[in-house]
Protein backbone atom coordinates (compact mmCIF):
# COMPACT_ATOMS: atom_id res chain seq x y z
CA UNK A 1 0.00 0.00 0.00
CA UNK A 2 1.48 3.32 -1.02
CA UNK A 3 2.01 6.01 1.58
CA UNK A 4 -0.39 8.20 -0.33
CA UNK A 5 -3.02 5.61 0.31
CA UNK A 6 -2.19 5.53 3.98
CA UNK A 7 -2.68 9.23 4.39
CA UNK A 8 -5.85 9.06 2.38
CA UNK A 9 -7.17 6.38 4.64
CA UNK A 10 -6.66 8.69 7.57
CA UNK A 11 -8.71 11.40 5.98
CA UNK A 12 -11.51 8.97 5.44
CA UNK A 13 -11.46 7.67 8.98
CA UNK A 14 -13.80 10.30 10.43
CA UNK A 15 -16.46 9.40 7.91
CA UNK A 16 -16.02 5.77 8.69
CA UNK A 17 -16.41 6.48 12.37
CA UNK A 18 -19.53 8.53 11.91
CA UNK A 19 -20.99 5.90 9.68
CA UNK A 20 -20.29 3.15 12.15
CA UNK A 21 -21.93 5.09 14.94
CA UNK A 22 -24.99 5.61 12.85
CA UNK A 23 -24.91 1.93 12.09
CA UNK A 24 -24.91 0.87 15.72
CA UNK A 25 -27.47 3.33 16.97
CA UNK A 26 -29.67 2.94 13.95
CA UNK A 27 -29.35 -0.80 14.01
CA UNK A 28 -31.07 -1.17 17.33
CA UNK A 29 -33.85 1.23 16.48
CA UNK A 30 -34.58 -0.17 13.07
CA UNK A 31 -34.45 -3.81 13.79
CA UNK A 32 -37.14 -3.29 16.34
CA UNK A 33 -39.17 -1.42 13.80
CA UNK A 34 -38.83 -3.99 11.10
CA UNK A 35 -40.36 -6.50 13.41
CA UNK A 36 -42.90 -4.04 14.73
CA UNK A 37 -44.01 -3.51 11.16
CA UNK A 38 -45.15 -7.09 11.04
CA UNK A 39 -47.27 -6.80 14.13
CA UNK A 40 -48.87 -3.45 13.47
CA UNK A 41 -50.13 -4.26 10.00
CA UNK A 42 -53.89 -4.35 9.48
CA UNK A 43 -55.10 -7.26 7.43
CA UNK A 44 -58.44 -6.31 5.96
CA UNK A 45 -57.76 -4.67 2.59
CA UNK A 46 -56.58 -6.67 -0.39
CA UNK A 47 -53.71 -5.76 -2.67
CA UNK A 48 -54.61 -5.63 -6.36
CA UNK A 49 -51.63 -6.63 -8.48
CA UNK A 50 -52.72 -4.55 -11.47
CA UNK A 51 -53.01 -1.37 -9.43
CA UNK A 52 -49.72 -2.17 -7.75
CA UNK A 53 -47.98 -2.77 -11.08
CA UNK A 54 -49.09 0.63 -12.31
CA UNK A 55 -47.95 2.46 -9.18
CA UNK A 56 -44.62 0.64 -9.18
CA UNK A 57 -44.13 1.75 -12.76
CA UNK A 58 -45.32 5.24 -11.90
CA UNK A 59 -42.85 5.48 -9.03
CA UNK A 60 -40.03 4.57 -11.36
CA UNK A 61 -41.27 7.14 -13.86
CA UNK A 62 -41.42 9.93 -11.32
CA UNK A 63 -37.94 9.14 -10.05
CA UNK A 64 -36.78 9.27 -13.67
CA UNK A 65 -38.30 12.74 -13.95
CA UNK A 66 -35.80 14.09 -11.44
CA UNK A 67 -32.82 12.15 -12.75
CA UNK A 68 -32.12 12.31 -15.62
CA UNK A 69 -35.25 14.25 -16.72
CA UNK A 70 -35.20 17.50 -14.81
CA UNK A 71 -31.44 17.35 -14.33
CA UNK A 72 -30.85 17.41 -18.09
CA UNK A 73 -33.71 19.77 -18.85
CA UNK A 74 -32.13 22.31 -16.53
CA UNK A 75 -28.59 21.30 -17.45
CA UNK A 76 -29.11 21.95 -21.13
CA UNK A 77 -30.42 25.43 -20.38
CA UNK A 78 -27.41 26.66 -18.44
CA UNK A 79 -24.15 27.84 -19.87
CA UNK A 80 -21.59 25.16 -20.58
CA UNK A 81 -19.50 25.96 -17.54
CA UNK A 82 -22.37 25.21 -15.16
CA UNK A 83 -24.07 22.11 -16.47
CA UNK A 84 -22.57 19.60 -14.05
CA UNK A 85 -23.35 21.80 -11.10
CA UNK A 86 -26.94 22.13 -12.26
CA UNK A 87 -27.34 18.41 -12.82
CA UNK A 88 -25.86 17.72 -9.39
CA UNK A 89 -28.44 19.93 -7.74
CA UNK A 90 -31.24 17.65 -8.90
CA UNK A 91 -29.20 14.53 -8.40
CA UNK A 92 -28.24 15.18 -4.80
CA UNK A 93 -31.67 16.57 -4.03
CA UNK A 94 -33.13 13.24 -5.09
CA UNK A 95 -30.81 11.40 -2.71
CA UNK A 96 -31.14 13.63 0.32
CA UNK A 97 -34.89 14.01 0.03
CA UNK A 98 -35.36 10.25 -0.35
CA UNK A 99 -33.29 9.43 2.71
CA UNK A 100 -35.06 12.04 4.80
CA UNK A 101 -38.38 10.73 3.55
CA UNK A 102 -37.95 7.19 4.82
CA UNK A 103 -36.37 8.34 8.08
CA UNK A 104 -39.02 10.84 9.10
CA UNK A 105 -40.41 12.77 6.15
CA UNK A 106 -43.16 10.34 5.28
CA UNK A 107 -44.28 10.24 8.86
CA UNK A 108 -44.36 14.00 9.18
CA UNK A 109 -46.24 14.36 5.92
CA UNK A 110 -48.69 11.48 5.98
CA UNK A 111 -48.46 10.14 9.51
CA UNK A 112 -51.23 10.55 12.10
CA UNK A 113 -52.36 14.13 12.14
CA UNK A 114 -51.26 16.70 14.71
CA UNK A 115 -53.65 19.62 14.77
CA UNK A 116 -54.21 19.61 11.03
CA UNK A 117 -50.75 21.02 10.55
CA UNK A 118 -48.27 18.15 10.44
CA UNK A 119 -47.99 14.41 10.92
CA UNK A 120 -46.42 12.89 14.00
CA UNK A 121 -43.42 10.58 14.26
CA UNK A 122 -45.33 7.30 14.50
CA UNK A 123 -44.21 6.14 11.07
CA UNK A 124 -40.61 7.31 11.35
CA UNK A 125 -38.17 4.84 9.83
CA UNK A 126 -41.17 3.31 8.01
CA UNK A 127 -42.38 1.68 11.21
CA UNK A 128 -45.50 -0.26 10.33
CA UNK A 129 -45.35 0.57 6.61
CA UNK A 130 -45.44 -2.76 4.86
CA UNK A 131 -47.21 -4.88 2.29
CA UNK A 132 -50.70 -4.22 3.57
CA UNK A 133 -52.69 -1.35 2.10
CA UNK A 134 -53.63 1.75 4.03
CA UNK A 135 -57.37 2.39 3.83
CA UNK A 136 -56.97 5.99 2.68
CA UNK A 137 -53.62 6.04 0.93
CA UNK A 138 -54.42 3.48 -1.73
CA UNK A 139 -56.68 0.70 -0.48
CA UNK A 140 -55.55 -1.67 -3.23
CA UNK A 141 -51.76 -1.23 -3.14
CA UNK A 142 -49.19 -2.01 -0.44
CA UNK A 143 -48.77 0.91 1.90
CA UNK A 144 -45.05 0.81 1.15
CA UNK A 145 -45.80 1.43 -2.52
CA UNK A 146 -47.74 4.56 -1.67
CA UNK A 147 -44.93 5.73 0.59
CA UNK A 148 -42.41 5.19 -2.19
CA UNK A 149 -44.53 6.86 -4.82
CA UNK A 150 -44.87 9.89 -2.58
CA UNK A 151 -41.11 9.81 -1.95
CA UNK A 152 -40.50 10.64 -5.57
CA UNK A 153 -42.72 13.72 -5.25
CA UNK A 154 -40.83 14.81 -2.16
CA UNK A 155 -37.64 14.51 -4.19
CA UNK A 156 -38.62 16.42 -7.30
CA UNK A 157 -40.26 19.33 -5.52
CA UNK A 158 -37.13 20.88 -4.01
CA UNK A 159 -35.22 19.95 -7.16
CA UNK A 160 -37.56 22.19 -9.15
CA UNK A 161 -36.39 25.21 -7.17
CA UNK A 162 -32.79 24.75 -8.18
CA UNK A 163 -33.52 26.13 -11.61
CA UNK A 164 -34.08 29.60 -10.24
CA UNK A 165 -30.79 29.83 -8.41
CA UNK A 166 -28.60 27.95 -10.83
CA UNK A 167 -25.23 29.22 -11.99
CA UNK A 168 -24.36 31.13 -8.80
CA UNK A 169 -25.26 29.35 -5.56
CA UNK A 170 -22.65 27.64 -3.42
CA UNK A 171 -23.02 23.90 -3.49
CA UNK A 172 -22.96 23.43 0.28
CA UNK A 173 -25.46 26.22 0.86
CA UNK A 174 -27.71 24.60 -1.70
CA UNK A 175 -27.59 21.30 0.16
CA UNK A 176 -28.53 22.89 3.47
CA UNK A 177 -31.26 24.87 1.78
CA UNK A 178 -32.81 21.86 0.09
CA UNK A 179 -32.63 19.82 3.27
CA UNK A 180 -34.11 22.36 5.63
CA UNK A 181 -36.72 23.44 3.13
CA UNK A 182 -38.02 19.89 2.81
CA UNK A 183 -38.65 19.70 6.53
CA UNK A 184 -39.91 23.21 7.13
CA UNK A 185 -41.96 23.75 3.99
CA UNK A 186 -42.65 20.55 2.09
CA UNK A 187 -43.73 18.22 4.89
CA UNK A 188 -46.26 20.64 6.37
CA UNK A 189 -47.70 21.72 3.04
CA UNK A 190 -47.93 18.13 1.91
CA UNK A 191 -49.70 17.25 5.13
CA UNK A 192 -52.17 20.11 4.87
CA UNK A 193 -53.35 18.98 1.47
CA UNK A 194 -52.65 15.28 1.06
CA UNK A 195 -52.06 14.09 4.62
CA UNK A 196 -55.48 15.01 5.93
CA UNK A 197 -54.47 18.46 7.22
CA UNK A 198 -56.54 21.60 7.41
CA UNK A 199 -56.70 22.31 3.69
CA UNK A 200 -57.79 18.76 2.98
CA UNK A 201 -60.46 19.16 5.62
CA UNK A 202 -61.64 22.32 3.87
CA UNK A 203 -62.05 20.31 0.69
CA UNK A 204 -59.14 21.75 -1.28
CA UNK A 205 -58.43 19.75 -4.44
CA UNK A 206 -54.91 19.17 -5.67
CA UNK A 207 -54.79 16.02 -7.73
CA UNK A 208 -51.08 15.52 -8.35
CA UNK A 209 -49.43 18.52 -6.78
CA UNK A 210 -50.21 21.95 -8.17
CA UNK A 211 -49.93 23.47 -4.71
CA UNK A 212 -47.93 20.79 -2.92
CA UNK A 213 -45.33 20.60 -5.66
CA UNK A 214 -45.43 23.55 -8.01
CA UNK A 215 -46.68 26.53 -6.04
CA UNK A 216 -44.64 25.67 -2.97
CA UNK A 217 -41.41 25.25 -4.90
CA UNK A 218 -41.86 28.10 -7.33
CA UNK A 219 -42.83 30.74 -4.83
CA UNK A 220 -39.86 29.67 -2.74
CA UNK A 221 -37.72 29.86 -5.85
CA UNK A 222 -38.88 33.41 -6.42
CA UNK A 223 -37.78 34.47 -2.96
CA UNK A 224 -34.52 32.57 -3.35
CA UNK A 225 -33.54 34.06 -6.67
CA UNK A 226 -34.25 37.57 -5.45
CA UNK A 227 -32.25 37.04 -2.26
CA UNK A 228 -29.39 35.52 -4.18
CA UNK A 229 -29.24 38.34 -6.69
CA UNK A 230 -28.72 38.31 -10.41
CA UNK A 231 -26.04 36.37 -12.19
CA UNK A 232 -23.03 38.50 -13.12
CA UNK A 233 -23.78 40.23 -16.37
CA UNK A 234 -27.52 39.54 -16.37
CA UNK A 235 -29.43 40.77 -18.31
CA UNK A 236 -26.89 42.55 -20.55
CA UNK A 237 -24.65 39.61 -21.40
CA UNK A 238 -26.47 37.05 -23.52
CA UNK A 239 -26.68 33.71 -21.74
CA UNK A 240 -28.09 31.35 -24.34
CA UNK A 241 -28.72 27.72 -23.38
CA UNK A 242 -25.59 25.75 -24.15
CA UNK A 243 -27.17 22.53 -25.40
CA UNK A 244 -30.76 22.57 -26.59
CA UNK A 245 -30.84 18.92 -27.70
CA UNK A 246 -30.09 17.91 -24.11
CA UNK A 247 -32.80 20.30 -22.93
CA UNK A 248 -35.24 18.71 -25.39
CA UNK A 249 -34.26 15.26 -24.21
CA UNK A 250 -34.96 16.35 -20.65
CA UNK A 251 -38.30 17.84 -21.66
CA UNK A 252 -39.27 14.64 -23.45
CA UNK A 253 -38.35 12.51 -20.47
CA UNK A 254 -40.26 14.84 -18.16
CA UNK A 255 -43.35 14.48 -20.32
CA UNK A 256 -42.96 10.71 -20.36
CA UNK A 257 -42.53 10.64 -16.58
CA UNK A 258 -45.44 12.99 -16.04
CA UNK A 259 -47.81 10.17 -16.97
CA UNK A 260 -46.58 8.45 -13.83
CA UNK A 261 -46.90 11.70 -11.91
CA UNK A 262 -50.47 12.48 -12.89
CA UNK A 263 -52.06 9.22 -13.98
CA UNK A 264 -50.25 7.45 -11.16
CA UNK A 265 -51.99 9.76 -8.72
CA UNK A 266 -55.14 7.77 -9.36
CA UNK A 267 -53.37 5.14 -7.23
CA UNK A 268 -54.61 2.41 -9.49
CA UNK A 269 -54.91 1.23 -13.09
CA UNK A 270 -58.45 2.31 -13.64
CA UNK A 271 -60.72 4.70 -15.47
CA UNK A 272 -59.57 7.61 -13.37
CA UNK A 273 -55.97 6.94 -14.33
CA UNK A 274 -57.01 6.87 -17.97
CA UNK A 275 -58.88 10.12 -17.64
CA UNK A 276 -55.94 11.80 -15.90
CA UNK A 277 -53.58 10.40 -18.52
CA UNK A 278 -55.60 11.89 -21.35
CA UNK A 279 -56.05 15.22 -19.61
CA UNK A 280 -52.32 15.43 -18.96
CA UNK A 281 -51.34 14.66 -22.50
CA UNK A 282 -53.86 16.91 -24.14
CA UNK A 283 -53.16 19.88 -21.90
CA UNK A 284 -49.46 19.57 -22.71
CA UNK A 285 -50.17 19.36 -26.43
CA UNK A 286 -52.46 22.35 -26.39
CA UNK A 287 -50.07 24.46 -24.33
CA UNK A 288 -47.21 23.62 -26.68
CA UNK A 289 -49.13 24.62 -29.76
CA UNK A 290 -50.46 27.79 -28.15
CA UNK A 291 -47.01 28.85 -26.99
CA UNK A 292 -45.63 28.18 -30.45
CA UNK A 293 -48.32 30.25 -32.12
CA UNK A 294 -47.99 33.20 -29.76
CA UNK A 295 -44.23 33.20 -30.11
CA UNK A 296 -44.55 33.02 -33.86
CA UNK A 297 -46.81 36.04 -33.94
CA UNK A 298 -44.98 37.96 -31.29
CA UNK A 299 -41.32 37.29 -32.11
CA UNK A 300 -41.58 36.20 -35.70
CA UNK A 301 -40.42 32.63 -35.31
CA UNK A 302 -41.53 29.55 -33.38
CA UNK A 303 -38.65 28.12 -31.34
CA UNK A 304 -37.77 24.71 -29.98
CA UNK A 305 -37.13 26.20 -26.57
CA UNK A 306 -40.52 27.87 -26.71
CA UNK A 307 -42.30 24.63 -27.56
CA UNK A 308 -40.54 22.77 -24.76
CA UNK A 309 -41.35 25.53 -22.32
CA UNK A 310 -44.97 25.46 -23.41
CA UNK A 311 -45.10 21.72 -22.93
CA UNK A 312 -43.72 21.91 -19.40
CA UNK A 313 -46.07 24.78 -18.61
CA UNK A 314 -49.00 22.71 -19.83
CA UNK A 315 -47.92 19.73 -17.79
CA UNK A 316 -47.40 21.77 -14.64
CA UNK A 317 -50.74 23.49 -15.09
CA UNK A 318 -52.84 20.40 -15.62
CA UNK A 319 -51.19 18.64 -12.66
CA UNK A 320 -53.60 19.73 -9.91
CA UNK A 321 -56.63 19.25 -12.14
CA UNK A 322 -55.72 16.13 -14.12
CA UNK A 323 -57.98 13.78 -12.18
CA UNK A 324 -60.90 16.14 -11.77
CA UNK A 325 -61.59 17.58 -15.22
CA UNK A 326 -62.81 16.18 -18.50
CA UNK A 327 -61.44 16.68 -21.97
CA UNK A 328 -62.87 20.15 -22.33
CA UNK A 329 -61.40 21.26 -19.04
CA UNK A 330 -58.02 19.89 -20.03
CA UNK A 331 -58.06 21.81 -23.30
CA UNK A 332 -59.02 25.04 -21.56
CA UNK A 333 -56.33 24.56 -18.96
CA UNK A 334 -53.74 23.87 -21.64
CA UNK A 335 -54.84 26.99 -23.46
CA UNK A 336 -54.56 29.10 -20.34
CA UNK A 337 -51.16 27.61 -19.53
CA UNK A 338 -49.77 28.55 -22.91
CA UNK A 339 -51.04 32.09 -22.85
CA UNK A 340 -50.47 33.08 -19.23
CA UNK A 341 -47.10 31.40 -18.76
CA UNK A 342 -45.88 32.89 -22.03
CA UNK A 343 -46.74 36.35 -20.82
CA UNK A 344 -45.04 35.76 -17.49
CA UNK A 345 -41.85 34.27 -18.86
CA UNK A 346 -41.43 36.42 -21.89
CA UNK A 347 -42.80 39.78 -20.77
CA UNK A 348 -43.38 39.98 -17.05
CA UNK A 349 -40.07 38.57 -15.87
CA UNK A 350 -37.93 40.93 -17.92
CA UNK A 351 -40.18 43.80 -16.87
CA UNK A 352 -39.88 42.96 -13.19
CA UNK A 353 -36.18 42.31 -13.48
CA UNK A 354 -35.50 39.38 -11.16
CA UNK A 355 -33.13 36.72 -12.44
CA UNK A 356 -34.99 33.42 -12.29
CA UNK A 357 -32.29 31.66 -14.31
CA UNK A 358 -34.35 28.84 -15.78
CA UNK A 359 -37.86 30.27 -15.33
CA UNK A 360 -39.16 28.23 -12.46
CA UNK A 361 -41.55 30.93 -11.34
CA UNK A 362 -43.15 31.70 -14.68
CA UNK A 363 -43.55 28.08 -15.67
CA UNK A 364 -44.14 26.09 -12.50
CA UNK A 365 -45.42 28.73 -10.13
CA UNK A 366 -47.79 30.43 -12.47
CA UNK A 367 -48.73 27.12 -14.05
CA UNK A 368 -49.42 25.41 -10.74
CA UNK A 369 -51.60 28.24 -9.47
CA UNK A 370 -53.44 28.44 -12.75
CA UNK A 371 -54.16 24.74 -12.64
CA UNK A 372 -55.54 24.99 -9.11
CA UNK A 373 -57.87 27.69 -10.31
CA UNK A 374 -58.67 25.55 -13.32
CA UNK A 375 -59.68 22.71 -11.02
CA UNK A 376 -61.89 25.19 -9.16
CA UNK A 377 -63.59 26.02 -12.44
CA UNK A 378 -63.75 22.79 -14.41
CA UNK A 379 -63.77 20.01 -11.81
CA UNK A 380 -66.72 17.68 -12.10
CA UNK A 381 -68.00 14.84 -9.95
CA UNK A 382 -68.90 13.09 -13.17
CA UNK A 383 -65.21 12.64 -13.80
CA UNK A 384 -64.13 11.84 -10.28
CA UNK A 385 -66.76 11.11 -7.66
CA UNK A 386 -64.17 11.62 -4.92
CA UNK A 387 -63.57 15.14 -6.20
CA UNK A 388 -66.05 17.97 -6.36
CA UNK A 389 -67.87 20.20 -8.79
CA UNK A 390 -66.20 23.43 -9.87
CA UNK A 391 -67.67 26.81 -10.62
CA UNK A 392 -68.78 25.86 -14.11
CA UNK A 393 -70.61 22.88 -12.66
CA UNK A 394 -72.47 25.06 -10.24
CA UNK A 395 -70.27 25.08 -7.16
CA UNK A 396 -68.54 28.42 -6.57
CA UNK A 397 -67.31 27.37 -3.13
CA UNK A 398 -64.57 25.15 -4.49
CA UNK A 399 -62.93 28.06 -6.26
CA UNK A 400 -62.75 29.96 -2.98
CA UNK A 401 -61.09 27.04 -1.26
CA UNK A 402 -58.63 26.72 -4.11
CA UNK A 403 -57.69 30.37 -3.82
CA UNK A 404 -57.21 30.02 -0.08
CA UNK A 405 -54.95 27.05 -0.74
CA UNK A 406 -52.85 28.99 -3.22
CA UNK A 407 -52.53 31.92 -0.88
CA UNK A 408 -51.71 29.84 2.16
CA UNK A 409 -49.12 27.70 0.41
CA UNK A 410 -47.50 30.62 -1.36
CA UNK A 411 -47.35 32.78 1.74
CA UNK A 412 -46.08 30.03 3.99
CA UNK A 413 -43.46 28.93 1.46
CA UNK A 414 -42.16 32.40 0.84
CA UNK A 415 -41.85 33.36 4.47
CA UNK A 416 -40.14 30.13 5.44
CA UNK A 417 -37.77 30.32 2.50
CA UNK A 418 -36.85 33.86 3.40
CA UNK A 419 -36.01 32.84 6.96
CA UNK A 420 -34.10 29.73 5.95
CA UNK A 421 -31.98 31.56 3.42
CA UNK A 422 -31.28 34.46 5.78
CA UNK A 423 -29.91 32.02 8.32
CA UNK A 424 -27.83 30.13 5.76
CA UNK A 425 -26.54 33.41 4.40
CA UNK A 426 -25.37 34.51 7.83
CA UNK A 427 -23.86 31.17 8.72
CA UNK A 428 -22.07 30.26 5.52
CA UNK A 429 -22.96 32.62 2.69
CA UNK A 430 -25.19 31.83 -0.25
CA UNK A 431 -23.23 32.77 -3.28
CA UNK A 432 -19.94 31.79 -4.84
CA UNK A 433 -17.27 34.44 -5.31
CA UNK A 434 -17.12 36.49 -8.49
CA UNK A 435 -14.06 34.59 -9.67
CA UNK A 436 -15.76 31.27 -9.10
CA UNK A 437 -18.85 32.43 -10.95
CA UNK A 438 -16.67 33.68 -13.79
CA UNK A 439 -14.83 30.39 -14.04
CA UNK A 440 -18.05 28.42 -13.80
CA UNK A 441 -19.41 26.29 -11.00
CA UNK A 442 -18.31 23.04 -12.61
CA UNK A 443 -14.66 23.82 -12.13
CA UNK A 444 -14.91 25.97 -9.05
CA UNK A 445 -17.32 23.85 -7.02
CA UNK A 446 -16.72 20.40 -8.47
CA UNK A 447 -13.31 20.38 -10.11
CA UNK A 448 -14.68 18.95 -13.34
CA UNK A 449 -15.43 19.99 -16.87
CA UNK A 450 -18.43 18.59 -18.71
CA UNK A 451 -16.83 18.10 -22.11
CA UNK A 452 -13.33 17.19 -23.22
CA UNK A 453 -12.71 17.22 -26.93
Amino acid sequence: MSSHMMSSMKKILPVLLICCTVMLVGGLAFNVQDVAAEDAAPAALKVDTGDTAWILASSALVMMMTLPGLALFYGGLTRQKNILSTVLHSFICLCLASIAWVLFGYSLSFGPDVGGFIGNFDWAGLRGIGADPHPVYGPTIPHEVFMMYQMMFAAITPALMTGAIAERIRFSSMLWFLGIWSVVVYYPVCHWIWGGGWLAQMGALDFAGGAVVHVSSATSALVACIMLGKRMGYPNTPMPPHNLPIMLLGAGLLWFGWFGFNAGSALGANGLAASAFVATHIAACVATVVWMLIEWMHRGKPTALGCATGAIAGLATITPAAGFVGLFGAIMIGLAAGIVCYICVSLLKPALGFDDSLDVVGVHGVGGALGLVGAGLFASKAINAAGNDGLFFGNPKLLMVQLIMIGAVAGFSMICTWIILKIIDVVMGLRVTQDEEQEGLDISQHGEKAYHV
Partner: protein, 112 residues
Protein backbone atom coordinates in the same frame (compact mmCIF):
# COMPACT_ATOMS: atom_id res chain seq x y z
CA UNK B 1 8.11 33.12 -49.05
CA UNK B 2 4.68 34.43 -48.24
CA UNK B 3 2.01 33.57 -45.72
CA UNK B 4 -1.43 34.05 -47.21
CA UNK B 5 -4.27 34.09 -44.71
CA UNK B 6 -7.83 34.16 -45.99
CA UNK B 7 -11.00 34.54 -43.94
CA UNK B 8 -13.90 33.12 -45.94
CA UNK B 9 -17.50 31.96 -45.63
CA UNK B 10 -17.56 28.39 -44.28
CA UNK B 11 -19.52 26.83 -47.12
CA UNK B 12 -16.94 28.09 -49.61
CA UNK B 13 -14.17 25.96 -48.13
CA UNK B 14 -14.45 23.10 -50.56
CA UNK B 15 -14.47 25.35 -53.60
CA UNK B 16 -11.47 27.28 -52.38
CA UNK B 17 -9.59 24.11 -51.61
CA UNK B 18 -10.28 22.78 -55.09
CA UNK B 19 -9.19 26.05 -56.69
CA UNK B 20 -5.92 25.96 -54.77
CA UNK B 21 -5.22 22.35 -55.56
CA UNK B 22 -5.84 23.13 -59.20
CA UNK B 23 -3.08 25.71 -59.32
CA UNK B 24 -0.66 23.36 -57.64
CA UNK B 25 -0.86 24.23 -53.94
CA UNK B 26 -0.06 21.11 -51.99
CA UNK B 27 -0.76 22.09 -48.44
CA UNK B 28 -2.91 24.37 -46.35
CA UNK B 29 -4.06 24.72 -42.77
CA UNK B 30 -7.61 25.57 -41.89
CA UNK B 31 -9.27 26.73 -38.68
CA UNK B 32 -12.68 27.77 -37.47
CA UNK B 33 -12.87 31.38 -36.43
CA UNK B 34 -15.49 33.98 -35.76
CA UNK B 35 -15.52 37.18 -37.69
CA UNK B 36 -16.67 40.67 -36.82
CA UNK B 37 -17.23 43.06 -39.69
CA UNK B 38 -19.80 44.68 -41.88
CA UNK B 39 -21.87 41.54 -42.16
CA UNK B 40 -24.37 41.23 -39.34
CA UNK B 41 -25.31 37.96 -37.64
CA UNK B 42 -28.75 36.44 -37.34
CA UNK B 43 -31.15 37.21 -34.56
CA UNK B 44 -31.60 34.54 -31.94
CA UNK B 45 -34.42 34.35 -29.39
CA UNK B 46 -34.44 32.31 -26.20
CA UNK B 47 -37.58 32.57 -24.11
CA UNK B 48 -37.97 36.15 -25.13
CA UNK B 49 -34.36 37.16 -24.64
CA UNK B 50 -33.45 38.33 -28.13
CA UNK B 51 -29.99 39.05 -29.32
CA UNK B 52 -27.95 39.38 -32.43
CA UNK B 53 -24.56 37.76 -32.55
CA UNK B 54 -21.88 40.15 -33.70
CA UNK B 55 -19.51 37.31 -34.45
CA UNK B 56 -20.21 35.21 -37.48
CA UNK B 57 -18.70 31.77 -38.14
CA UNK B 58 -15.91 31.98 -40.69
CA UNK B 59 -13.14 29.72 -41.90
CA UNK B 60 -9.54 30.87 -41.89
CA UNK B 61 -7.20 29.30 -44.44
CA UNK B 62 -3.44 29.66 -44.13
CA UNK B 63 -1.33 28.87 -47.14
CA UNK B 64 2.42 29.26 -47.24
CA UNK B 65 3.81 29.66 -50.71
CA UNK B 66 6.86 30.72 -52.63
CA UNK B 67 6.94 34.42 -53.49
CA UNK B 68 6.29 33.86 -57.15
CA UNK B 69 3.16 31.81 -56.47
CA UNK B 70 1.53 34.37 -54.21
CA UNK B 71 -0.31 36.31 -56.89
CA UNK B 72 -1.88 33.19 -58.36
CA UNK B 73 -2.97 31.95 -54.97
CA UNK B 74 -4.60 35.26 -54.13
CA UNK B 75 -6.36 35.27 -57.44
CA UNK B 76 -7.58 31.69 -56.98
CA UNK B 77 -8.94 32.35 -53.51
CA UNK B 78 -10.64 35.56 -54.57
CA UNK B 79 -12.31 33.82 -57.43
CA UNK B 80 -13.50 30.79 -55.52
CA UNK B 81 -14.60 32.51 -52.33
CA UNK B 82 -16.56 35.29 -53.90
CA UNK B 83 -20.34 35.45 -53.66
CA UNK B 84 -20.51 39.19 -54.07
CA UNK B 85 -22.40 39.76 -50.84
CA UNK B 86 -21.12 41.41 -47.68
CA UNK B 87 -18.98 39.13 -45.54
CA UNK B 88 -17.10 37.34 -48.30
CA UNK B 89 -13.97 37.94 -46.27
CA UNK B 90 -10.44 39.13 -46.69
CA UNK B 91 -7.01 37.94 -47.68
CA UNK B 92 -3.93 39.02 -45.75
CA UNK B 93 -0.45 38.59 -47.12
CA UNK B 94 2.80 38.77 -45.18
CA UNK B 95 6.40 37.70 -45.50
CA UNK B 96 7.85 34.77 -43.69
CA UNK B 97 11.42 34.07 -42.98
CA UNK B 98 11.70 30.33 -43.08
CA UNK B 99 9.89 27.01 -43.29
CA UNK B 100 10.93 23.63 -41.90
CA UNK B 101 9.40 20.27 -42.73
CA UNK B 102 9.46 18.34 -39.48
CA UNK B 103 9.58 14.88 -41.05
CA UNK B 104 12.72 15.52 -43.08
CA UNK B 105 14.27 18.64 -41.62
CA UNK B 106 14.18 20.29 -45.07
CA UNK B 107 14.18 24.09 -45.00
CA UNK B 108 13.05 26.91 -47.22
CA UNK B 109 10.88 26.62 -50.29
CA UNK B 110 11.56 22.95 -50.74
CA UNK B 111 9.85 22.33 -47.41
CA UNK B 112 6.55 23.71 -48.62
Amino acid sequence: MKMIEAVIKPFKLDEVKDALVEIGVQGMTVSEVKGFGRQKGSKETYRGAEYTTDFIPKIKIEVYVADNQAARVIEAITRAAKTGTVGDGKIFVSDIANVVRIRTGEMGESAL
